[in-house]
C-alpha cells in the first residue's frame, strides 16, 4: 500500500502535458528492460548526430510498470518511462506515464497484437519528448498527438473540483477572447472556495445538467456586472485547490486522492474528441 501511495504522490505537484496514443503494435510487458536499452541507445545516437555539447554525458533510462492505475477490469497496467542524465542519477530529467484508466467501451475493441494505452502524461523538456516520440512511434507503429481539452470539458472539471475542494484556495477560471479582439484579452474569475461550493450545492438540487448550469451561472453573474458575453469566448484554463488544467493539455494535480478520477476524465476525453491532425 505504501509503495502505491509513494508512486501516486510522485505524480502530484508536477506539470504534465497530456497526449493521446493510438494502440501499440507488438508491445510486450515482459520485454520492458529490452525497450529501456533500445531507448537508451536511440537517445545516445540522437545526441551524437545532433552534436549537442551540453548533453554529451549520456543517459540512463528506466521503463517499468506503474502500480495502482489499472482500476478497471480490462485495464492494462500503466507504464512509467524515465530518462536520467548520467550527471544526476537521482532525479529523472524526463518522465512519461502511459496509461489506460477505465476508457470508453468503443476503445476496448482492439485485436490481440495491439495493446491499448491511450493516455500519455509527459513531464520534462520538449527535446526529450520529441526524441522519445520518434523512437516510440517507430518501435510500436503508433501515433502520439497532443490532447486538446475543449472549453466544455474544462468547465466540467471546474464544476467537479468546486465540489471537492478541501484546501482554502479560490476556484480560478480564465477565458480568452477570440483573435479579432485587439491585443488579445484574458478574463480571469476567481471565486471564493466557500461560494463556489455553495453554488455547486445549489446546482445539484436543480436536477438538470449540472455542469453546464455551473458555468452558465458564473457567466450570467459576470454579464450582469460587465455586459461581457463569456459564452462567446474560449475557456482557456481552470485551477483549484485540487488540480489545474488548460486547453492545450497541461494538467497539474495537487493531491494524490483525486488523481485517478482526473485520469478517468482525461481518458474519457480521448474517446469523445475528434482526432487532431497527425493522429
Amino acid at each position: 500500500y505504501f509503495c502505491f501511495l509513494k508512486a501516486m504522490k510522485s505524480l502530484t505537484k508536477k506539470h504534465f502535458h497530456a497526449y493521446r496514443v493510438s494502440p501499440l503494435c507488438m508491445f510486450s510487458y515482459p520485454r520492458l528492460q529490452h525497450y529501456a536499452q533500445m531507448l537508451e541507445t536511440f537517445l545516445t545516437a540522437e545526441v551524437k548526430c545532433a552534436g549537442d555539447p551540453t548533453t554529451n554525458s549520456g543517459f540512463h533510462t528506466n521503463i517499468s510498470v506503474f502500480p495502482g492505475l489499472a482500476t478497471g477490469q480490462r485495464d492494462p497496467e500503466a507504464i512509467l518511462i524515465q530518462i536520467f542524465c548520467k550527471q544526476e542519477q537521482k532525479r529523472p530529467a524526463w518522465e512519461g506515464l502511459l496509461c489506460s484508466v477505465e476508457p470508453e467501451p468503443s476503445y476496448l475493441t482492439v485485436c490481440m497484437p495491439f495493446v491499448l494505452l491511450p493516455l500519455l502524461l509527459v513531464h520534462g523538456p520538449k527535446k526529450f519528448t520529441t526524441a522519445w516520440k520518434t523512437w516510440f512511434e517507430r518501435t510500436f507503429d503508433c501515433c502520439v498527438s497532443p490532447l486538446v481539452i475543449p472549453s466544455y470539458e474544462l468547465a466540467w472539471m471546474a464544476a467537479l473540483w468546486a465540489g471537492a475542494m478541501s484546501v482554502p484556495r479560490t476556484l480560478d477560471l480564465q477565458w480568452s477572447s477570440p483573435p479579432p479582439v485587439s491585443d488579445g484579452l484574458h478574463i480571469t474569475m476567481s471565486v471564493n472556495r466557500n461560494d463556489a461550493l455553495r453554488l455547486w450545492d445549489c446546482v445539484h438540487t436543480s436536477g438538470e445538467e449540472e455542469v453546464g448550469l455551473f458555468k452558465q451561472g458564473l457567466e450570467e453573474h459576470i454579464f450582469h456586472h460587465f455586459h461581457v458575453i463569456l459564452d462567446a469566448m474560449i475557456l482557456e484554463s481552470v485551477s483549484s485547490g485540487v488540480a489545474s488544467a488548460n486547453n492545450s493539455g497541461h494538467i497539474k494535480v495537487l493531491f494524490h486522492k483525486p488523481l485517478v478520477h482526473i485520469l478517468v476524465a482525461s481518458s474519457y476525453l480521448l474517446d469523445i474528441l475528434i482526432p487532431t491532425k497527425g493522429s
Binding site: T170, S177, P178, P180, V181, S182, D183, G184, L185, H186, I187, T188, M189, S190, V191, N192, D195, R198, L199, C202, V203, T205, S206, L213, Q216, G217, L218, E219, E220, H221, I222, F223, H224, H225, F226, H227, V228, I229, A232, M233
Partner: protein, 341 residues
C-alpha cells in the same frame, strides 16, 4: 574604479544591444566625443565592455556616476518595471523656488540618511524628475545587500510613480519623498501598470477625451463602417452594428486609449446568475469573486469587445470610464439597503 561600480557598468552594457548601449552612453554625458567615436568601432559586447571599463578608469568615474547611467537605463526601458501611482496633496511653501535637480538630490540624501544607508541619483528628463534610490541593508549572513527603488515625479500633475519597494521601507520612503518635494501628504492611487506615459496621461486628465466632446465622431464612425465593408457581404444587422460603433465611440472617443495591462474588480455582491440558478435566490450572502481583465492594452481590448459582439453596449461605467476615474482597481459592492432586504 570601485568593484561595485564596475559590476553595475558591465551588467548594464551586457543587458543592452550594441546600438542601445551607444545611445545610453551618449546621453550619459561622462565621455568625450572622441571617446564615444572610439567606442563605435567595437563590434562585440565583450569589446565594448572592456573599452568602456578602460575609459571609466581614465575619466575617474565612480559609483555615483554609474548609478546615473543605471537611471538612464531605467528611463529607456521603463516598460520593464511596474509603476504604482501616488498623489501628492497639500503643497507647502508656494513661494519657494522651483525644484532643482541637484538640490532635490541633496535633500533626499539628507532625509534618507535618517533611516537607511542609501545613495540617491536625480535627473530631470522631459519635464519629469527621475529618482533612483539605492538602499543598502544587512542580510542575515551579515552581508551587505543593495536594492533599488525608482521614482518619477511629474511636477505639473503633482503625482509620483514608484517601482516596488519593500514594505518595511515604503513608509519611510514615502515620507521622505513628499517632504523633499514640498508637499504635506502622499496618498496611494489604485493605479498601476508598465507604461509610464499612459499612467501620467491618466493622472493628468489628458486621456479623458471622449466622443461626447466632438459630435462629429459618431458620423465619422458611420463612414468608417461603410468604407471597410466588403460589397459582396450583405449585412443583416447593419443598424445594430452602427449603434454599437456609435456607442463605443461615444464612450471611448476616437483617440488611442492609454496603455494599461490590467483591470481588477473585487465583487462583493449577491449572486446575479439567478435566471440560470434560481436556487441561489434564497441565499442572501455575498458571492465573493475577483475578476481580472488582462491584455497588452486592456482598454483597447475592452473597447473592441462590443464591436466584435462579445459584449453588450454600452459597457458599464467602471469599464468605459477607467481613464476618467484614474484607477485600475475597483471594489464593487451591493448598496447596503439591498443587502439588508
Amino acid at each position: 574604479m570601485e568593484l561595485d561600480a564596475w559590476i553595475i557598468l558591465r551588467q548594464l552594457i551586457v543587458r543592452c544591444r550594441l546600438g542601445q548601449s551607444m545611445k545610453l552612453l551618449d546621453s550619459w554625458g561622462y565621455m568625450s566625443r572622441k571617446q564615444l567615436q572610439n567606442l563605435k568601432r567595437c563590434r562585440s559586447k565583450l569589446a565594448l565592455v572592456s573599452a568602456v571599463g578602460q575609459i571609466a578608469e581614465e575619466n575617474d568615474i565612480g559609483l555615483q556616476q554609474v548609478m546615473e547611467l543605471e537611471l538612464l537605463y531605467v528611463q529607456l526601458f521603463s516598460k520593464q518595471k511596474t509603476w504604482r501611482a501616488f498623489k501628492l496633496t497639500g503643497p507647502q511653501n508656494l513661494m519657494a523656488e522651483p525644484i532643482n535637480q541637484e538640490r532635490l538630490r541633496a535633500d533626499l540624501q539628507n532625509k534618507l540618511s535618517l533611516f537607511f544607508k542609501s545613495m540617491v541619483v536625480v535627473r530631470e528628463i522631459q519635464r519629469a524628475f527621475w529618482i533612483q534610490i539605492s538602499i543598502q541593508e544587512k542580510s542575515s549572513k551579515a552581508k551587505l545587500r543593495r536594492y533599488t527603488v525608482h521614482a518619477v515625479f511629474y511636477p505639473l500633475s503633482a503625482h509620483i510613480f514608484l517601482t516596488f519597494a519593500k514594505s518595511s521601507a515604503q513608509d519611510h520612503l514615502l515620507q521622505v519623498l513628499h517632504l523633499a518635494l514640498n508637499y504635506r501628504n502622499i496618498e496611494m492611487v489604485v493605479l498601476g501598470g508598465h507604461c509610464l506615459e499612459s499612467l501620467s496621461r491618466i493622472v493628468s486628465n489628458e486621456a479623458n477625451m471622449c466622443g461626447l466632446q466632438n459630435p462629429s465622431l459618431a458620423m465619422m464612425s458611420k463612414h468608417n463602417i461603410e468604407a471597410e465593408t466588403d460589397p459582396r457581404i450583405t449585412d443583416e444587422n447593419k443598424k445594430d452594428k452602427e449603434r454599437t460603433m456609435a456607442l463605443t465611440h461615444q464612450s471611448f472617443g476616437n483617440q488611442p486609449q492609454p496603455v494599461l495591462e490590467e483591470l481588477v474588480f473585487t465583487l462583493d455582491t449577491r449572486f446575479h446568475g439567478l435566471i440560470t440558478i434560481p436556487a441561489m435566490k434564497e441565499s442572501t450572502d455575498v458571492f465573493s469573486t475577483k475578476v481580472r481583465f488582462q491584455s497588452k492594452n486592456v482598454l483597447e481590448a475592452v473597447k473592441s469587445l462590443g464591436i466584435h459582439g462579445l459584449a453588450k453596449t454600452p459597457l458599464p461605467y467602471t469599464l468605459r470610464m477607467v481613464p476618467q476615474l484614474g484607477r485600475n482597481s475597483f471594489r464593487i459592492s451591493e448598496r447596503k439597503k439591498k443587502l439588508q432586504e
